[in-house]
């Protein structure tokens, strides 16, 4: 079995616990954030190289589809950041706290903190999207 096939088989079929799913979510959110950053660097470079295309890119960002994707992007950034801090704290500052109960608890807290930041941010973003794209709330 190739490494890629083994990896994907393991990701999808291994029945790990909180840590396994936290690891996978960290990977997915990291990829999501990296993908956006690449696109963002490219579209920003259009300001200099292709100004007309830049305007087109901005109008795409204002579309409903991108608006929804941005809500997902904010989740990616928040989860990846908070989980990264959790892992760095345990791994680099307090390795002796790396026990099964503390790890399981900390993954749940990480998700809770992420949601506490993401839900209000999403509400504001969705409000703006409905206001500008659909004329809701007097827009």
């Amino acid at each position: 079995m190739s490494n890629l096939k083994t990896t994907l088989t393991g990701y999808a079929s291994y029945r790990g616990k909180e840590g396994h799913y936290s690891f996978i979510l960290h990977r997915i959110t990291g990829l999501g954030t990296a993908l956006f950053l690449i696109i963002h660097i490219l579209d920003t470079s259009f300001v200099y190289f292709f100004p007309d295309l830049y305007q087109h890119a901005i109008s795409l960002y204002r579309s409903t589809l991108f608006g929804i994707a941005e809500v997902g992007l904010v989740f990616c950034v928040f989860f990846h950041g908070v989980n990264g801090l959790r892992v760095a704290f345990f791994d680099l500052i307090a390795p002796r706290l790396w026990s099964v109960p503390k790890q399981r608890f900390s993954t749940k807290i990480t998700l809770l903190i992420t949601l506490l930041m993401w839900v209000p941010a999403s509400a504001i973003m969705l409000y703006n999207m409905l206001y500008h794209n659909f004329g809701w709330f007097g827009g």
């Binding site: 490494n3 083994t6 790990g16 396994h20 002796r96």
Partner: protein
């Protein structure tokens, strides 16, 4: 109880592709998965291949994926799986030689790479015949002495699935056992190996290793302690 046992099969000499065989059988809920496999081999299919030796969780021969999770077949009871469907597959990340038997050589190569043996070329102390150690010094690495090299940890690790060059949790656990031994003098050599690209920094703290260890070794903690020694330069 009636169960449906699904087993990964691969017999290279038959030319057949890897597939799953299913056996419907009556078993005692207090039987272990290893007993169930023995029953299949005795009653249904003598060609079924798997490793087993002591059958009591000491030799570490029968690590396999049982219902998607690495376990020792001799340590898990059928009733503890809470299911009448049992799927048994080989551990991931090592080449399958036959059925549930994988090639353990890459695993043992990584184990050997960290010098998993006591090193001290200093002369024996004049006032005694042994190198004394306090109970606290012995306690420091007690947890990592328990490894039985079953590979349940290494083959549950996403970093190992992605890159077989990663030394893996088991090798790091066995390095930890000697790095923190106050009598040993080869910590620097081991840390050099573990500080390489294929060393401890590939650990992403997914915790599958700790959850899978049949000896309850706190593996992620041991790996983090080795990381800390590498970046702090101090063995505490």
């Amino acid at each position: 109880m009636q169960i449906k046992l699904k087993v990964f099969r691969y017999l290279p000499h038959t030319g057949k592709k890897p597939h799953y065989d299913t056996y419907e059988m009556e078993v005692d809920p207090n039987e272990r998965v290893l007993d169930v496999l023995e029953q299949v081999r005795a009653d249904s299919d003598p060609s079924l291949g798997y490793r087993r030796s002591c059958a009591h969780g000491v030799c570490g021969s029968d690590a396999m994926r049982i219902n998607g999770r690495n376990m020792l077949a001799c340590k898990v009871l059928v009733k503890d799986l809470n299911s009448t469907q049992i799927t048994v597959e080989p551990i991931l990340g090592l080449k399958v030689l036959r059925d549930l038997i994988v090639d353990m050589e890459p695993f043992f190569d990584h184990f050997r790479s960290v010098m998993p043996y006591f090193v001290n070329d200093d002369p024996i102390p004049e006032d005694g015949k042994e190198r004394l150690q306090s109970p606290a010094q012995r306690e420091r690495f007690d947890d990592t002495t328990k490894c039985i090299l079953c590979a349940a940890c290494t083959t549950s690790c996403p970093s190992f699935w992605a890159n077989g060059k990663y030394v893996g949790p088991a090798a790091i656990v066995n390095a930890h056992r000697f790095i923190f031994d106050s009598r040993d003098t080869a910590a620097a050599e081991r840390l050099e190996v573990l500080n390489e690209d294929s060393g401890v920094w590939r650990c992403r703290t997914a915790f599958n290793c700790t959850e899978a260890c049949p000896r309850d070794i706190e593996i992620t903690k041991a790996i983090a302690e080795v990381k800390q020694v590498i970046y702090s330069g101090k063995i505490e």
